[in-house]
Each structure stands twice: as structure tokens, then as C-alpha cells.
């Protein structure tokens, strides 16, 4: 009987683990890739931030299971870098670079990408460092947060960085959509969950929001991709079940944002 109960519990646990893993389909949870020492002009920099999930015991920069900054990492980054090196004349480092706001090292990487930013949390010093980074010429692209609640959480952090700078909706004519590819026909790019659900949205984020914060010269310093999941599109671009048009759109957006960040 005990053996039966143990077996049942083990089966249930295995099923739960499988379902949970399948739901995320993140092949590399807990994977800690080595930082590359290859030198190139451009290094794909992923922002490792402090999460506000501290109350749940997951606060920290670490590579722990719930470190939200590393969603889709590093496969999304590396697949994108393949496209970058293949489609542009940018000399991109083949592997990504993780940066954080704890040190000035971030200033060596003037373009940075952040995901799940509804969970980010800054100390005053970190917010100041990010503000200075952006005003000196750094560029931040944020992705993979959805719906009203995520937006408010994202803005809580953003207001620490820029208390007064407005967030604006980008128009088709904005230079960032034409710097490499003309992208007047943008659409919502869903995450990998689209394969199972057929939905392009998550939570209540029904409409993709292309937003930005500008500096005093009108240059975009924070490009906000709200209600979309470009990172997943890069990560699953090689999945035959993931629609090509979403992956292509995601690559084009990412490439435009990088070229914009390297020219403005």
C-alpha cells in the first residue's frame, strides 16, 4: 500500500513537473552560460535586474529558477545574434553579455535588453545609474510584459529612473521603424504559448504597444515593447510550429532597434 501511495505521489509529481516544464518550454532553466571573451563592436547586453518578487523569496540577480530577467536566455539572445551578424554589417559578439546596475560596467555596453520588466525593482543608486546610462547615450529595449498590471509595475520602476519624462506611443513615421527595415505593418508578436493557445496576447494585453521615452534631443532612449514577446519569437524561431511571420517581425524589430541605438 505504501509502495502504491509512493508510486502515485511520484507519478503525480512527475506529471506536475512535466506539465510545468512544458508550459514554459524553457529548455535551459538554471543554465549558467559562460560569458564570452570574444571581442567585437557590439555585445548583446541583457540586463540582470533586482526582482520585486522578494516577498516570494525570489529577490536577487542570481541565475535562480525565478530570476525573471533571464526569460528566454540565452537561446533568444544567441539566435538573435546569428541574425544580426548575418543580416547587417554590425560586428556582433556571438554570445551575449549580462550586465547589471550594481557596477559601472554597464557603461561599456551602450545597448541593453530587458525582459519581464514588470518585476524589476531598483534601489536609488541603481535607478540613478540607469538614468545616467540612458542620458549619456545608452539605449534600453524592454520586452515581454503584458497587460495593465504589468504596465503599472513596469512604470513603478521607470518612474524611479525618469520621474518626469513622458512615455509616448510611437508612430509609423518614427525613424526607429525605418532605420533598417520599413516597418509600417507591425503587428502583435506572441510568445511561444501561441502554438498551444492560438492567442497572440497574454493577460489583458490585447493590443501591441510600441512606446518610447526620449531624451532632451528627441532621441529614443527607452524603447518599450509592451504586450508582445519578441524574445520568445527569437528563441522559437527555429521551431517549425512557431509561425514564421512572428519570428521575422521580431527579428526586424530587434535589428531596427539596435541600428537605431547605434546611430542616434
Amino acid at each position: 500500500m505504501k509502495l502504491f501511495q509512493a508510486t502515485i505521489i511520484a507519478v503525480i509529481a512527475a506529471v506536475c513537473c512535466t506539465v510545468g516544464s512544458a508550459y514554459q518550454r524553457t529548455a535551459d532553466w538554471g543554465y549558467q552560460p559562460e560569458q564570452s571573451n570574444v571581442k567585437a563592436e557590439f555585445a548583446w547586453s541583457r540586463l540582470s535586474y533586482n526582482s520585486n518578487l522578494g516577498s516570494m523569496g525570489y529577490r536577487g540577480y542570481g541565475y535562480g529558477r525565478w530570476a525573471t530577467w533571464q526569460r528566454d536566455y540565452p537561446k533568444a539572445d544567441r539566435q538573435f545574434l546569428i541574425a544580426l551578424n548575418r543580416l547587417t554589417r554590425i560586428q556582433g559578439r556571438p554570445t551575449e553579455q549580462v550586465v547589471n546596475l550594481d557596477s559601472d560596467d554597464i557603461f561599456n555596453y551602450p545597448w541593453v535588453y530587458a525582459v519581464q520588466v514588470q518585476t524589476w525593482s531598483f534601489s536609488d543608486e541603481e535607478a540613478k545609474r540607469l538614468r545616467e546610462y540612458l542620458l549619456k547615450g545608452g539605449f534600453l529595449m524592454v520586452d515581454d510584459f503584458h497587460g495593465t498590471a504589468d504596465w503599472e509595475n513596469f512604470m513603478n520602476g521607470m518612474r524611479q529612473v525618469f520621474p518626469d519624462r513622458p512615455v509616448e506611443d510611437l508612430e509609423n513615421k518614427d525613424e526607429i521603424f525605418h532605420v533598417l527595415y520599413d516597418m509600417d505593418d507591425r503587428f502583435q508578436v506572441p510568445g511561444e504559448q501561441y502554438i498551444r493557445t492560438g492567442r497572440t496576447y497574454e493577460k489583458d494585453g490585447y493590443v501591441a504597444k510600441w512606446r518610447a521615452i526620449r531624451d532632451d534631443h528627441g532621441r529614443i532612449v527607452v524603447a518599450i515593447c509592451h504586450n508582445m514577446h519578441l524574445g520568445d519569437a527569437w528563441e522559437w524561431a527555429d521551431d517549425p510550429d512557431y509561425p514564421e511571420q512572428f519570428a521575422s517581425m521580431a527579428f526586424r524589430v530587434g535589428l531596427n532597434y539596435i541600428v537605431y541605438g547605434m546611430t542616434h
Binding site: E41, F42, L87, R89, Q91, G137, H217, H264
Partner: protein, 756 residues
């Protein structure tokens, strides 16, 4: 004393011609002299064996010498030596007396007590006998001398109030006005303060043609005891708005060696910069460099002044002003970049903050896509790098980024060379993985544009850190000036964050200037090298990693942007337009004559001799004039015109060139006429000028103690109505004294040696 021995005054001997009045042939005299000397020698030698032993030495030679001199003197007298000299005829000639009545003659440093004004001392000299002495033998006319000359009825009426001294013009005017008068000589009483720069050859020739001697009497101390005087200010007459200007100020002081003062630069009433100055040794010219912002567009009158020190004798010479035409036109730079990279972004951002600069860029984002930024219209650079001169020459400068030489066609490379050589533009080569040697530029046809000998191999670009430091030339350059203080600037460079990468650019070419070096590992390599090439200039900046200066310094630190703005301005600011107007001087001192030149070129910068060129002069109080400029023969595209600015003040000249209905271009320059300012400078007596003037015209510089001889000696002149007088020399006291002396000397020597 001279006349006591020689009977006649010095001018008789200096101006006269030696003659022999004797009827015997002149050639016979040297023959007889030689024969006599030889004969005496033979005689003494032949009798030497019979003479006393004591004479068997140098003593015999001494006797021979004395006797030879005596015979020679006697023989010369037998031929009746004389001097013929031109002498003004009494009461038939006029002496022109010129008295400087400029303001500098009011300085009280003359007279016996040194407290009388120079003018008073000059008048006193005239009244103390010179004028009366002259009037005994000549007619005299007294003139005042300032900007020109004018007759004066009474010497005592002269007042030192004139705003300028133009000795050159005054003498020229005198020579012209008295061409039909028997002027025997000119007497000039002055401190030598010539505001026009000196006495020119034309005036000297005019005086010499008339054999008119100018006798000069100098007044004033030749050296002040306590004074600081501005000597010169070297400052570009044109600048771009908000550009950093470099001025070299030279001055000298007397009596304040080791003292401290302040050099201030003012734009109107506003001090734009100042610098503490420690004064150097007495009398030596000291040079200080100051940097300041040119400000907004317009004509600036920038004044440089040294704070007066206690006891200064003349404070009016402590300041000097210069006009600067500040242009609000934007300079356009074409930036060709072969790959997206951070350096491109941050250079563009630096240029965007410079309102005087427009960087038009073409960036190869993919193999077949070019992203253009800063273009003026959609068609600009739509077909890539220009293939026609008129399209490329619109730009003032070019930046070649990380792009291979092979990206440009041979025609485009030749255009690049002509852009510098013919158009006078600037080209800046940046480091990068497709740049310099790694981009094949060393083997290209335009490698001569690069100011370094590029290494022959590849792999010269390294993504390794390198730090920058200034060279001695860089410490003095406006391009690399991050802070005004030179020493602090050098230190500032040493503290800059490291650059992300560097490139080996090779050794600098002869004539190139290394402004900055970089420390890469143990190697020290050129970082920023400049050179002049043809009408333009080129530079290499052997890195693409200066963007760290922006990202890794405090927010708001201007270092990165300031450096690039200054370097880009160096690249483009001096590129000439199609019309370039110029003047020899832009500050006219008491003289309104303007010599205007213009060089006119067409769209391809080929000289345009068929252009119509008009200068529009706009002066003070609404004065305006249109002046047609005429072509200069044998100098295609060059035009010139003369004009006179009648009133003191600032003038603006707009030169416009047209060909048919097409306007080729226009240029604006400014100049200023200032009256009375030059008189405040060089107030010490310019004895050198007075001596030179008198010696070149056959006159003499007279000292105060010699003046009483002036009326008598001035008559030896070939000008005016003169007669040539022959003055025999045999009866000069010196002759008899010599005869007596030679004979006495021989007798005394013989007595001493006991051979009489």
C-alpha cells in the same frame, strides 16, 4: 675741435669729392711716391754697414718709415690736394622745418629736467637758435607734421594734439608740394613715432632723386622705465559661431620684471576670459596664449588688455582690439561609415550639439543598404558617395570611417584627393576594422592624403584598451584643448578613460604634426596626426573607441563632445568658399585706404576669371558704396579694388561674384578704421627710424648738444640752388702738424739712440 685741425666741418669731407689741383699728371704722384720710398729704403740699406751697430735692427726700418711718410706727404702737397663740395647758395634756398605735432609729442619726458613735453622741447630748440641760424642764410618754412603736413605761421602755435604721425606721408607730400621750390634740406623734429609702419622706398627714392637731405632731431626717452605695452595680438579674423578661438598675445614690459598682472579678453563690456600673467624679463617680448568662445554670429570687437600696474607711464598702450567676423553658417561634413558602430553614434551626437556643424552621413548598415542621416533633401547621397566634383565640393569636410578604400571607385578616390588639394577641404580618417591599412588605404591611390606612412600589412586594428596623452604640439593646439590651462589640459588628457580599441597608423610623415599619442600595452603610437595637403588639410584619428570618454565619465562631462566638436571644426572650418575676399590688414590705423582682393572659383572650384565681382561696403552711420572689382592680369580668378573708408568705425564688406545670372558665391569680411589709437603705442623715441631716414637721404641725426652746428653744416647739400666750391687742403693745420711731427719724431728717436 674737428674744424680746428681740419679747417672745414665734417660734412665737407663726408659729402665732398677729393681732387688734385696740381698741373702735373696724377699718375706721376704714386710713381714718385713708390720710387721715393724704394729709393729711401735702398739708400738706408746700402749705408747700413757704415752706420752704428745700434742701428742694425728694427730701428733702421723705423727711420725708413718716418722718412717715407714725410716724403709722401710732401709729394701729395705738391700736387695740391683739395675737396669740391656742393654748398647751398646763401639766401636763395629754403629749408623746410617739419615739427611733429602728434599726441605722443605731448609726453613729458624731455628737456633738461626731463619734465618738459617733447613738443615744448622741440619748439625750444628751434627758438634757441636753430631757426634764427637757418634764417641768416636761408628762407625757412615751418610745417606741422601729423597725418600729413601743413604750414605753420608761428612755431609757438604748434600744439601736440594730432591723432597720428605719418612721417612717410608727410615727407612724400613735402616732396610733391615743393617740387618747384629750391628746398635745400629738410629738418625733422619728431619722436619718430611713425604710425604707418615706416618710411617706404618710394618716399626715400623721391627724396634721393632731389638729393634732399633730411636732418632729424629726436625727442623723447629712448626707453621707458615703467610700462607694459601690448605688441601684437594674433587672432583669426573669421570664426564659426560658438567656436573656441585661440589668440596669441605678445607684449613687453619695462620695470615690472617678475610682477603679476591679468590678461583679460573682452567682447564689448563682457569679460570672456582672463589669465594671470607673470611678467618676464625687461624689454623682451613675452607671448601668452588665451582661448575663448567666439560667441554667436556677428561682428565681434574683441579687446585684449593687460591690467595697468602702479606707476605705469603709459596705460593707453595696455590694450589692443581685433575684429572677428563670426559666421553663423553651418559647416557641412560628409561622414562615410562602413559599419554601424558606437564611434559613429557618439560622433554624430557630439556634432548635433554643435549648431555650427552639420554632419551628413552615409552608413552601410547591410551589404546593400545605406542609411543616410543629416541630409538636407531626400535626393542628397541617394546614389551613394558623389561622383561629380560639384556634388562633393559642396561639403566642407569629409570623415572616412571604417570603410575600405575599395568601396570607392578610382574616380571617387581622385575626387577625394581633389577635395583636399583643389577645393581646400579637410579629410579625417578614423580607425576601424575596415580603416587605414586594414581597409587597403595604404595601397590606394590616395594614400598620400593620410598623414602617416600606413603599415604595409593588415591586422593593425586591435580591440584592446589604449590610453591617450598629448604631445607638445597637442598641448598648444586648439583642437585638443579641453580646459584652458595648458598644464591642466595635459593632465586632463592623461585622466581620460581608456579607449576601447586602437589602430597602428604608422609613423607620421614629414611635415605632419602628432597632436596626441596613445599608450597601447608597452607601445606608444600616434593617435591624432594632422597635416596640410594642397589647399586643405587631413588628419588621422587612429581609434574607434573614444565613445568611452562619453559613457565612462560623469554625466554632463563635456570632454568627448568638446573634443569631437573641435576636431570636426578643424576639419571643416577653414575650408574656403567659392569666393574668398581678403585685405592685407583689417585694422586701418588713421588711414582709410582699403586694398581689397578676392579669389573667385566656380562650382568645381576652377578659377572664374569671367565672373563679375562687386564689393558692397557698409560703413558707420549708414555709409554704403558699391565697388566693382577688376580682374588681376595673369592671375585667373583673382580680382582687386581700392576704396577709401573716410570715417573711423567698423565696416562690413560683402563681395558677390556672379556669372551671367548665376551667383557663384559671396563672402563677407570686416575691417575697422581707428584714428588716434596707434599714437598710444611705441611712444619711446624711435631713434632707429630717424637715424635710418637721415642716413638714407644724406642727412644726419642730431643730438641735442650738437644742434648749434646745424645751421652751418646744413648748407652742404646738393639740393636746391647750390654751387660747387673747391676747398684746398694744403693749408689745413693738421698738415703742418704732421710734417712737424714726422720730422720731430725722427730727430727725437735719433737723439734717443745716440746716432746724431
Amino acid at each position: 675741435m674737428f674744424e680746428f685741425f681740419f679747417k672745414y666741418p665734417i660734412p665737407v669731407f663726408t659729402k665732398g669729392r677729393w681732387v688734385l689741383l696740381g698741373s702735373w699728371p696724377g699718375w706721376l704722384l704714386p710713381v714718385l711716391i713708390v720710387a721715393s720710398v724704394v729709393g729711401l729704403g735702398w739708400l738706408i740699406r746700402s749705408r747700413l754697414s757704415e752706420a752704428a751697430p745700434i742701428m742694425h735692427t728694427w730701428r733702421a726700418g723705423t727711420i725708413w718709415l718716418l722718412q717715407s711718410l714725410l716724403v709722401t706727404l710732401v709729394l701729395i702737397l705738391l700736387w695740391r690736394p683739395a675737396i669740391t663740395v656742393a654748398e647751398l647758395k646763401s639766401q636763395q634756398n629754403m629749408i623746410a622745418v617739419l615739427v611733429d605735432d602728434s599726441r605722443s609729442m605731448a609726453i613729458t619726458d624731455s628737456g633738461d629736467d626731463g619734465k618738459a613735453s617733447r613738443e615744448a622741447a622741440a619748439i625750444r630748440s628751434l627758438n634757441a637758435g636753430i631757426l634764427a641760424g637757418l634764417q641768416k642764410r636761408f628762407q625757412t618754412r615751418v610745417y606741422r607734421l601729423d597725418g600729413g603736413i601743413g604750414r605753420v605761421a608761428k612755431v609757438d602755435d604748434l600744439q601736440p594734439t594730432a591723432t597720428a604721425t605719418h612721417i612717410n606721408d608727410g615727407l612724400k607730400q613735402l616732396a610733391a608740394e615743393t617740387a618747384d621750390l629750391p628746398v635745400g634740406a629738410v629738418v625733422l623734429l619728431s619722436d619718430g613715432g611713425e604710425n604707418g609702419g615706416g618710411v617706404d622706398l618710394e618716399t626715400i627714392s623721391a627724396l634721393r632723386n632731389r638729393r634732399l637731405p633730411v636732418h632729424t632731431l629726436g625727442f623723447g626717452k629712448e626707453q621707458t622705465k615703467h610700462d607694459i605695452e601690448m605688441e601684437d595680438v594674433n587672432l583669426a579674423s573669421r570664426a564659426m559661431a560658438d567656436s573656441r578661438m585661440k589668440a596669441t598675445v605678445s607684449f613687453r614690459e619695462r620695470g615690472y620684471s617678475g610682477g603679476k598682472t591679468v590678461l583679460a579678453v573682452r567682447d564689448g563690456d563682457k569679460i570672456v576670459t582672463s589669465k594671470d600673467v607673470t611678467l618676464g624679463p625687461d624689454g623682451t617680448i613675452q607671448t601668452e596664449t588665451v582661448f575663448f568662445n567666439a560667441g554667436s554670429a556677428g561682428v565681434r570687437r574683441v579687446q585684449f588688455s593687460l591690467e595697468p600696474l602702479g606707476g605705469e607711464e603709459n596705460v593707453a598702450n595696455n590694450a589692443m582690439a581685433r575684429l572677428v567676423s563670426v559666421s553663423g553658417d553651418r559647416r557641412r561634413i560628409l561622414y562615410v561609415e562602413g559599419e554601424p558602430r558606437w564611434e559613429y553614434k557618439f560622433i554624430r551626437r557630439a556634432a548635433e550639439d554643435d549648431h555650427g556643424m552639420q554632419v551628413v552621413s552615409m552608413l552601410r548598415t547591410t551589404e546593400n543598404k545605406i542609411y543616410r542621416q543629416g541630409i538636407s533633401d531626400p535626393q542628397e547621397l541617394a546614389d551613394g558617395f558623389p561622383v561629380k566634383a560639384e556634388n562633393l565640393f559642396k561639403y566642407d569636410g569629409i570623415i572616412i570611417g571604417s570603410v575600405e578604400a575599395g568601396y570607392f571607385t578610382p574616380r571617387q578616390q581622385e575626387l577625394l584627393r581633389e577635395f583636399v588639394d583643389k577645393r581646400g577641404g579637410g579629410v579625417l580618417f578614423l580607425g576601424g576594422r575596415f580603416a587605414l591599412s586594414d581597409g587597403g588605404w595604404g595601397a590606394s591611390s590616395v594614400t598620400e592624403l593620410v598623414p602617416t606612412f600606413l603599415p604595409s600589412g593588415k591586422n593593425t586594428f586591435h580591440r584592446e584598451p589604449a590610453t591617450a596623452q598629448l604631445t607638445a604640439a597637442g598641448a598648444e593646439s586648439a583642437v585638443t584643448r579641453l580646459v584652458d590651462d595648458p598644464a591642466k589640459n595635459v593632465e586632463r588628457w592623461k585622466k581620460l578613460p581608456y579607449m576601447m580599441d586602437y589602430q597602428e597608423a604608422g609613423a607620421p610623415k614629414p611635415g605632419a604634426t602628432v597632436l596626441a599619442e596613445m599608450n597601447a600595452g608597452r607601445a606608444k603610437l600616434p593617435l591624432l596626426v594632422t597635416q596640410n595637403y594642397g589647399r586643405g588639410r587631413t588628419a588621422v584619428m587612429a581609434t574607434s573607441g573614444t565613445w568611452r570618454w562619453q559613457m565612462n565619465q560623469a554625466l554632463g562631462d563635456p570632454t568627448h563632445d568638446l573634443f569631437w566638436q573641435q576636431l570636426l571644426r578643424w576639419v571643416a572650418a577653414d575650408s574656403p568658399g567659392r569666393v574668398v575676399a581678403s585685405m592685407p590688414v583689417q585694422r586701418l590705423m588713421d588711414d582709410g585706404r582699403v586694398h581689397l582682393s578676392a579669389m573667385v572659383r566656380d562650382k568645381e572650384y576652377v578659377p572664374a576669371p569671367d565672373a563679375r565681382v562687386v564689393a558692397h561696403m557698409i560703413g558707420p552711420a549708414g555709409a554704403s558704396a558699391l565697388v566693382d572689382m577688376r580682374p588681376v592680369p595673369n592671375n585667373a580668378g583673382s580680382f582687386q579694388a581700392e576704396w577709401t573708408a573716410e570715417k573711423p568705425g567698423s565696416y562690413v564688406v560683402e563681395v558677390t561674384a556672379t556669372r551671367g545670372t548665376e551667383e557663384l558665391g559671396r563672402d563677407v569680411l570686416t575691417f575697422e578704421r581707428t584714428d588716434g589709437v596707434a599714437e598710444n603705442f611705441h611712444t619711446e623715441q624711435n631713434r632707429e627710424l630717424l637715424e635710418k631716414l637721415s642716413s638714407q637721404t644724406g642727412g644726419r641725426y642730431w643730438k641735442a648738444e650738437e644742434l648749434r652746428r646745424l645751421p652751418s653744416e646744413i648748407s652742404y647739400s646738393e639740393a636746391g640752388i647750390s654751387v660747387r666750391d673747391t676747398k684746398e687742403l694744403w693749408n689745413m693745420p693738421i698738415v703742418f702738424l704732421m710734417l712737424l711731427g714726422l720730422m720731430s719724431a725722427e730727430w727725437l728717436l735719433r737723439r734717443k739712440w745716440g746716432v746724431i
